[in-house]
Protein backbone atom coordinates (compact mmCIF):
# COMPACT_ATOMS: atom_id res chain seq x y z
CA UNK A 1 0.00 0.00 0.00
CA UNK A 2 1.06 3.56 -0.63
CA UNK A 3 0.59 5.76 2.42
CA UNK A 4 1.24 9.47 2.79
CA UNK A 5 1.84 10.45 6.40
CA UNK A 6 1.54 14.16 7.14
CA UNK A 7 3.20 15.54 10.26
CA UNK A 8 6.68 14.55 11.40
CA UNK A 9 6.14 14.75 15.15
CA UNK A 10 6.47 11.70 17.37
CA UNK A 11 3.32 10.06 16.03
CA UNK A 12 4.16 10.63 12.37
CA UNK A 13 7.78 9.61 12.84
CA UNK A 14 7.07 6.27 14.50
CA UNK A 15 4.11 5.59 12.22
CA UNK A 16 6.33 6.09 9.18
CA UNK A 17 9.04 3.82 10.58
CA UNK A 18 6.56 1.06 11.36
CA UNK A 19 4.94 1.29 7.95
CA UNK A 20 8.31 1.10 6.21
CA UNK A 21 9.22 -1.93 8.27
CA UNK A 22 5.99 -3.64 7.30
CA UNK A 23 6.96 -3.19 3.67
CA UNK A 24 4.59 -0.39 2.69
CA UNK A 25 5.50 2.45 0.38
CA UNK A 26 5.50 5.60 2.51
CA UNK A 27 6.06 9.32 2.05
CA UNK A 28 6.27 11.55 5.12
CA UNK A 29 5.45 15.24 4.81
CA UNK A 30 6.87 17.64 7.40
CA UNK A 31 6.74 21.39 6.86
CA UNK A 32 9.55 22.28 9.25
CA UNK A 33 12.58 21.82 7.02
CA UNK A 34 15.01 21.25 9.87
CA UNK A 35 12.88 18.52 11.40
CA UNK A 36 12.29 17.09 7.93
CA UNK A 37 16.00 16.80 7.20
CA UNK A 38 16.66 15.24 10.61
CA UNK A 39 14.12 12.54 9.91
CA UNK A 40 15.36 12.20 6.33
CA UNK A 41 18.91 11.55 7.57
CA UNK A 42 17.60 8.74 9.68
CA UNK A 43 14.99 6.96 7.63
CA UNK A 44 16.00 7.85 4.10
CA UNK A 45 14.75 9.98 1.26
CA UNK A 46 11.05 9.50 1.74
CA UNK A 47 10.55 12.84 3.45
CA UNK A 48 8.92 15.73 1.59
CA UNK A 49 9.90 18.91 3.45
CA UNK A 50 6.67 20.78 2.74
CA UNK A 51 3.25 21.61 4.14
CA UNK A 52 0.75 18.83 3.52
CA UNK A 53 -2.11 21.33 3.68
CA UNK A 54 -1.08 22.68 0.30
CA UNK A 55 -2.41 20.99 -2.80
CA UNK A 56 0.72 21.46 -4.84
CA UNK A 57 2.89 19.67 -2.28
CA UNK A 58 0.38 16.90 -1.75
CA UNK A 59 0.58 16.40 -5.51
CA UNK A 60 4.36 16.33 -5.30
CA UNK A 61 4.16 13.66 -2.62
CA UNK A 62 2.05 11.54 -4.96
CA UNK A 63 -1.43 12.07 -3.54
CA UNK A 64 -2.92 11.17 -6.92
CA UNK A 65 -2.05 7.52 -6.40
CA UNK A 66 -2.08 7.30 -2.60
CA UNK A 67 -4.21 4.59 -1.01
CA UNK A 68 -4.21 6.29 2.36
CA UNK A 69 -3.47 9.77 3.68
CA UNK A 70 -2.90 9.87 7.43
CA UNK A 71 -2.91 13.39 8.93
CA UNK A 72 -1.25 13.15 12.32
CA UNK A 73 -0.03 16.64 13.15
CA UNK A 74 -0.72 18.08 16.57
CA UNK A 75 -3.25 20.57 15.20
CA UNK A 76 -6.80 19.47 14.49
CA UNK A 77 -7.40 22.23 11.96
CA UNK A 78 -4.37 21.18 9.92
CA UNK A 79 -5.42 17.54 9.99
CA UNK A 80 -8.89 18.47 8.78
CA UNK A 81 -7.58 20.53 5.87
CA UNK A 82 -5.08 17.82 4.87
CA UNK A 83 -7.81 15.18 4.75
CA UNK A 84 -10.27 17.40 2.91
CA UNK A 85 -7.67 18.35 0.29
CA UNK A 86 -6.69 14.69 -0.12
CA UNK A 87 -10.30 13.59 -0.40
CA UNK A 88 -11.70 16.25 -2.67
CA UNK A 89 -8.77 17.09 -4.88
CA UNK A 90 -6.96 13.81 -5.15
CA UNK A 91 -9.82 11.37 -4.51
CA UNK A 92 -7.75 9.51 -1.93
CA UNK A 93 -9.90 6.50 -0.96
CA UNK A 94 -9.03 6.49 2.74
CA UNK A 95 -8.25 9.50 4.89
CA UNK A 96 -7.34 9.22 8.55
CA UNK A 97 -7.12 12.17 10.93
CA UNK A 98 -5.65 12.42 14.38
CA UNK A 99 -8.18 14.37 16.44
CA UNK A 100 -6.93 15.98 19.62
CA UNK A 101 -10.17 17.53 20.81
CA UNK A 102 -12.54 14.54 20.98
CA UNK A 103 -15.45 16.91 20.33
CA UNK A 104 -14.13 17.34 16.79
CA UNK A 105 -14.68 13.69 15.89
CA UNK A 106 -18.28 14.24 14.83
CA UNK A 107 -17.42 17.37 12.85
CA UNK A 108 -14.62 15.61 10.98
CA UNK A 109 -16.95 12.73 10.17
CA UNK A 110 -19.56 15.13 8.79
CA UNK A 111 -16.94 16.90 6.73
CA UNK A 112 -15.86 13.75 4.94
CA UNK A 113 -12.84 12.46 6.87
CA UNK A 114 -13.06 8.66 6.68
CA UNK A 115 -11.57 7.80 10.05
CA UNK A 116 -10.96 9.84 13.16
CA UNK A 117 -8.48 8.69 15.76
CA UNK A 118 -8.64 10.51 19.08
CA UNK A 119 -5.85 9.62 21.51
CA UNK A 120 -7.69 11.67 24.13
CA UNK A 121 -10.82 9.57 23.68
CA UNK A 122 -8.81 6.35 23.79
CA UNK A 123 -7.09 7.19 27.04
CA UNK A 124 -10.39 8.38 28.46
CA UNK A 125 -12.00 5.11 27.41
CA UNK A 126 -9.22 3.18 29.03
CA UNK A 127 -9.63 5.05 32.30
CA UNK A 128 -13.39 4.76 32.25
CA UNK A 129 -13.19 1.01 31.75
CA UNK A 130 -11.71 0.73 35.19
CA UNK A 131 -13.93 3.04 37.15
CA UNK A 132 -17.65 2.70 37.66
CA UNK A 133 -19.50 4.80 35.12
CA UNK A 134 -23.16 5.54 34.99
CA UNK A 135 -23.30 6.22 31.35
CA UNK A 136 -22.99 4.45 28.06
CA UNK A 137 -19.38 3.85 27.17
CA UNK A 138 -18.31 4.31 23.57
CA UNK A 139 -16.07 1.50 22.47
CA UNK A 140 -15.69 2.27 18.79
CA UNK A 141 -17.17 3.94 15.77
CA UNK A 142 -18.13 1.43 13.10
CA UNK A 143 -19.84 1.12 9.75
CA UNK A 144 -18.89 4.22 7.82
CA UNK A 145 -19.02 6.31 10.98
CA UNK A 146 -22.73 6.53 11.73
CA UNK A 147 -22.82 3.65 14.21
CA UNK A 148 -21.41 3.39 17.68
CA UNK A 149 -20.38 0.28 19.52
CA UNK A 150 -21.43 0.90 23.10
CA UNK A 151 -21.25 -0.74 26.47
CA UNK A 152 -23.52 -0.23 29.49
CA UNK A 153 -22.72 -1.58 32.91
CA UNK A 154 -25.92 -2.31 34.83
CA UNK A 155 -26.29 -1.30 38.45
CA UNK A 156 -28.67 -2.64 41.11
CA UNK A 157 -31.15 0.09 40.31
CA UNK A 158 -30.88 0.02 36.52
CA UNK A 159 -34.32 -0.43 34.93
CA UNK A 160 -33.10 -3.25 32.66
CA UNK A 161 -32.06 -5.48 35.59
CA UNK A 162 -34.31 -8.54 35.89
CA UNK A 163 -35.66 -8.03 32.39
CA UNK A 164 -35.40 -10.33 29.44
CA UNK A 165 -32.73 -8.73 27.23
CA UNK A 166 -34.37 -9.75 23.99
CA UNK A 167 -37.72 -8.31 25.09
CA UNK A 168 -36.54 -4.78 25.89
CA UNK A 169 -38.11 -2.05 23.81
CA UNK A 170 -35.15 -0.54 22.00
CA UNK A 171 -35.04 2.45 19.70
CA UNK A 172 -34.97 1.68 15.97
CA UNK A 173 -31.56 1.14 14.45
CA UNK A 174 -30.10 -0.35 17.58
CA UNK A 175 -29.39 -3.93 18.73
CA UNK A 176 -27.94 -5.58 21.80
CA UNK A 177 -25.87 -8.62 21.01
CA UNK A 178 -23.89 -9.74 24.03
CA UNK A 179 -23.50 -9.55 27.78
CA UNK A 180 -20.26 -9.79 29.69
CA UNK A 181 -20.97 -11.42 33.04
CA UNK A 182 -18.07 -12.07 35.42
CA UNK A 183 -15.68 -11.50 32.54
CA UNK A 184 -17.41 -14.21 30.47
CA UNK A 185 -19.01 -13.12 27.20
CA UNK A 186 -22.50 -14.48 26.59
CA UNK A 187 -24.57 -14.06 23.44
CA UNK A 188 -28.00 -12.56 24.06
CA UNK A 189 -30.63 -15.26 23.59
CA UNK A 190 -34.40 -15.34 23.88
CA UNK A 191 -34.13 -16.16 27.58
CA UNK A 192 -31.24 -13.95 28.71
CA UNK A 193 -32.21 -12.25 31.97
CA UNK A 194 -30.11 -9.20 32.75
CA UNK A 195 -28.40 -8.90 36.14
CA UNK A 196 -26.75 -6.12 38.08
CA UNK A 197 -23.07 -5.96 37.13
CA UNK A 198 -23.68 -7.16 33.58
CA UNK A 199 -21.91 -5.27 30.84
CA UNK A 200 -24.34 -5.08 27.95
CA UNK A 201 -22.85 -4.63 24.48
CA UNK A 202 -24.81 -3.08 21.70
CA UNK A 203 -24.50 -1.34 18.40
CA UNK A 204 -26.64 1.52 17.23
CA UNK A 205 -27.03 4.81 15.46
CA UNK A 206 -25.55 7.75 17.33
CA UNK A 207 -28.89 9.52 17.73
CA UNK A 208 -30.46 6.49 19.50
CA UNK A 209 -28.10 6.81 22.37
CA UNK A 210 -30.19 8.85 24.75
CA UNK A 211 -33.12 6.46 24.46
CA UNK A 212 -30.84 3.44 24.87
CA UNK A 213 -29.36 4.98 27.98
CA UNK A 214 -32.86 5.42 29.40
CA UNK A 215 -33.89 1.83 28.68
CA UNK A 216 -30.75 0.25 30.11
CA UNK A 217 -29.57 2.59 32.84
CA UNK A 218 -32.39 5.03 33.48
CA UNK A 219 -32.26 8.82 33.35
CA UNK A 220 -28.74 10.18 33.52
CA UNK A 221 -28.16 11.55 36.99
CA UNK A 222 -26.33 14.87 36.96
CA UNK A 223 -24.15 14.22 39.99
Amino acid sequence: MFVIVVGGGKVGYYLTKELVQSGHEVVLMEKDSLRASQIGDEIGSIVVPHDGCEGRYLAKAGANRADIVAAVTGDDEDNLVICQMAKHHFAVPRTIARVNNPKNEVLFRHLGVDEQISPTRMILGSIEENIPVHELLHLAVVGGGELDLIEAQLREDSPAVGQNASALTLPDGCVLFAVIRNEVPLAIRADTLLQAGDKVLGIGRTECEEELQRVLLGEASPD
Partner: protein, 164 residues
Amino acid sequence: MRIIIVGCGRVGSLLAESLDAAGHEVVILDTATRAFDRLPDSFKGDAVRGDGTDEDVLRRAGAEGADIFLALTEGDNRNVMTAQMAADALGIKRTVAKINDPLRAAAYAELGVATVCRTNLIADALARYLDLPIAVGPGVQAPGFADEPVPGEQPAAPARRGEG
Protein backbone atom coordinates in the same frame (compact mmCIF):
# COMPACT_ATOMS: atom_id res chain seq x y z
CA MET B 1 -28.44 40.84 13.02
CA ARG B 2 -26.41 38.69 15.37
CA ILE B 3 -22.85 38.42 14.11
CA ILE B 4 -20.05 36.23 15.48
CA ILE B 5 -16.46 37.18 14.70
CA VAL B 6 -13.57 34.86 15.51
CA GLY B 7 -10.23 36.68 15.71
CA CYS B 8 -9.86 40.22 17.04
CA GLY B 9 -7.03 41.32 14.78
CA ARG B 10 -7.11 44.44 12.63
CA VAL B 11 -9.86 43.19 10.35
CA GLY B 12 -11.88 41.53 13.08
CA SER B 13 -11.79 44.51 15.41
CA LEU B 14 -12.55 46.98 12.63
CA LEU B 15 -15.60 44.99 11.56
CA ALA B 16 -16.71 44.48 15.16
CA GLU B 17 -16.52 48.21 15.81
CA SER B 18 -18.36 49.19 12.63
CA LEU B 19 -21.03 46.52 12.85
CA ASP B 20 -21.64 47.37 16.50
CA ALA B 21 -21.91 51.06 15.65
CA ALA B 22 -24.39 50.17 12.91
CA GLY B 23 -26.62 48.61 15.54
CA HIS B 24 -25.86 44.91 15.11
CA GLU B 25 -25.43 42.47 17.95
CA VAL B 26 -21.75 41.52 17.81
CA VAL B 27 -19.84 38.80 19.66
CA ILE B 28 -16.09 38.74 19.05
CA LEU B 29 -13.73 36.00 20.23
CA ASP B 30 -9.97 35.87 20.58
CA THR B 31 -7.56 33.70 22.55
CA ALA B 32 -5.71 36.78 23.85
CA THR B 33 -7.37 39.35 26.08
CA ARG B 34 -4.90 41.93 24.82
CA ALA B 35 -6.40 41.68 21.36
CA PHE B 36 -9.54 43.36 22.70
CA ASP B 37 -7.52 46.53 23.33
CA ARG B 38 -8.17 47.21 19.66
CA LEU B 39 -11.87 47.67 20.39
CA PRO B 40 -13.05 51.19 21.26
CA ASP B 41 -14.54 51.96 24.68
CA SER B 42 -17.83 52.59 22.94
CA PHE B 43 -18.07 48.91 21.84
CA LYS B 44 -21.32 47.51 23.24
CA GLY B 45 -20.99 43.92 22.01
CA ASP B 46 -19.50 40.92 23.79
CA ALA B 47 -15.76 40.26 23.76
CA VAL B 48 -15.15 36.65 24.74
CA ARG B 49 -11.73 35.26 25.48
CA GLY B 50 -11.50 31.69 24.23
CA ASP B 51 -10.53 29.39 21.39
CA GLY B 52 -12.92 30.10 18.55
CA THR B 53 -12.21 26.70 16.99
CA ASP B 54 -13.66 24.94 20.05
CA GLU B 55 -17.33 24.08 19.62
CA ASP B 56 -18.01 24.35 23.37
CA VAL B 57 -16.49 27.83 23.50
CA LEU B 58 -18.57 28.96 20.54
CA ARG B 59 -21.76 27.63 22.10
CA ARG B 60 -21.01 29.31 25.40
CA ALA B 61 -20.44 32.55 23.53
CA GLY B 62 -23.95 32.16 22.12
CA ALA B 63 -22.94 31.47 18.53
CA GLU B 64 -25.69 28.94 17.89
CA GLY B 65 -28.25 30.23 15.44
CA ALA B 66 -26.40 33.50 14.72
CA ASP B 67 -27.05 35.18 11.38
CA ILE B 68 -23.47 35.66 10.27
CA PHE B 69 -20.20 33.98 11.25
CA LEU B 70 -16.84 35.44 10.24
CA ALA B 71 -13.65 33.43 10.75
CA LEU B 72 -10.87 36.01 10.66
CA THR B 73 -7.94 34.63 12.65
CA GLU B 74 -4.41 34.63 11.27
CA GLY B 75 -4.56 30.88 10.59
CA ASP B 76 -6.10 29.76 7.29
CA ASN B 77 -6.78 26.28 8.58
CA ARG B 78 -8.28 27.49 11.83
CA ASN B 79 -10.63 29.68 9.84
CA VAL B 80 -11.55 26.83 7.52
CA MET B 81 -12.31 24.53 10.43
CA THR B 82 -14.29 26.95 12.54
CA ALA B 83 -16.34 28.21 9.58
CA GLN B 84 -17.32 24.66 8.67
CA MET B 85 -18.07 23.97 12.34
CA ALA B 86 -20.34 27.01 12.45
CA ALA B 87 -22.27 25.77 9.42
CA ASP B 88 -22.37 22.10 10.37
CA ALA B 89 -22.80 22.10 14.14
CA LEU B 90 -24.18 25.53 14.95
CA GLY B 91 -26.58 25.89 12.05
CA ILE B 92 -25.30 29.27 10.88
CA LYS B 93 -26.28 29.94 7.28
CA ARG B 94 -23.82 32.66 6.30
CA THR B 95 -20.26 31.85 7.22
CA VAL B 96 -17.11 33.30 5.71
CA ALA B 97 -13.56 32.05 6.20
CA LYS B 98 -10.53 34.24 5.59
CA ILE B 99 -8.04 32.14 3.64
CA ASN B 100 -4.93 33.99 2.58
CA ASP B 101 -3.51 31.17 0.47
CA PRO B 102 -5.21 31.67 -2.93
CA LEU B 103 -5.04 27.98 -3.85
CA ARG B 104 -6.67 26.88 -0.63
CA ALA B 105 -9.26 29.65 -0.94
CA ALA B 106 -10.21 28.39 -4.39
CA ALA B 107 -10.26 24.78 -3.21
CA TYR B 108 -12.62 25.55 -0.33
CA ALA B 109 -14.84 27.74 -2.47
CA GLU B 110 -15.29 24.67 -4.66
CA LEU B 111 -16.28 22.76 -1.54
CA GLY B 112 -18.97 25.29 -0.78
CA VAL B 113 -17.23 27.45 1.82
CA ALA B 114 -17.44 31.21 1.26
CA THR B 115 -13.91 32.54 1.37
CA VAL B 116 -12.17 35.88 1.41
CA CYS B 117 -8.56 35.95 0.29
CA ARG B 118 -6.43 38.91 1.37
CA THR B 119 -3.66 37.99 -1.05
CA ASN B 120 -5.98 38.19 -4.04
CA LEU B 121 -7.70 41.33 -2.73
CA ILE B 122 -4.44 43.26 -2.38
CA ALA B 123 -2.99 42.05 -5.67
CA ASP B 124 -6.23 42.94 -7.41
CA ALA B 125 -6.44 46.38 -5.79
CA LEU B 126 -2.84 47.17 -6.75
CA ALA B 127 -3.31 45.98 -10.31
CA ARG B 128 -6.39 48.19 -10.62
CA TYR B 129 -4.68 51.20 -9.11
CA LEU B 130 -1.69 50.81 -11.40
CA ASP B 131 -3.98 49.99 -14.31
CA LEU B 132 -1.99 46.86 -15.05
CA PRO B 133 -4.32 44.11 -16.15
CA ILE B 134 -3.06 40.89 -14.57
CA ALA B 135 -4.76 37.63 -13.82
CA VAL B 136 -5.65 37.51 -10.13
CA GLY B 137 -8.12 35.16 -8.50
CA PRO B 138 -11.25 36.63 -6.94
CA GLY B 139 -10.92 38.16 -3.48
CA VAL B 140 -14.28 36.89 -2.35
CA GLN B 141 -15.63 33.57 -3.50
CA ALA B 142 -19.09 32.93 -2.27
CA PRO B 143 -20.73 29.79 -3.56
CA GLY B 144 -23.58 30.06 -1.07
CA PHE B 145 -24.75 33.53 -2.07
CA ALA B 146 -23.99 34.05 -5.72
CA ASP B 147 -25.61 37.48 -5.88
CA GLU B 148 -22.67 38.92 -3.93
CA PRO B 149 -20.43 41.33 -5.83
CA VAL B 150 -17.22 39.55 -6.61
CA PRO B 151 -14.13 41.63 -7.32
CA GLY B 152 -11.79 40.53 -10.08
CA GLU B 153 -13.75 40.02 -13.30
CA GLN B 154 -12.63 36.95 -15.11
CA PRO B 155 -12.14 33.80 -13.02
CA ALA B 156 -8.51 33.81 -14.05
CA ALA B 157 -7.12 30.33 -14.31
CA PRO B 158 -3.44 30.80 -13.59
CA ALA B 159 -2.55 28.34 -10.89
CA ARG B 160 -3.61 24.80 -11.70
CA ARG B 161 -3.33 22.70 -8.62
CA GLY B 162 -1.31 19.57 -8.83
CA GLU B 163 1.64 21.24 -10.45
CA GLY B 164 4.73 22.92 -9.18
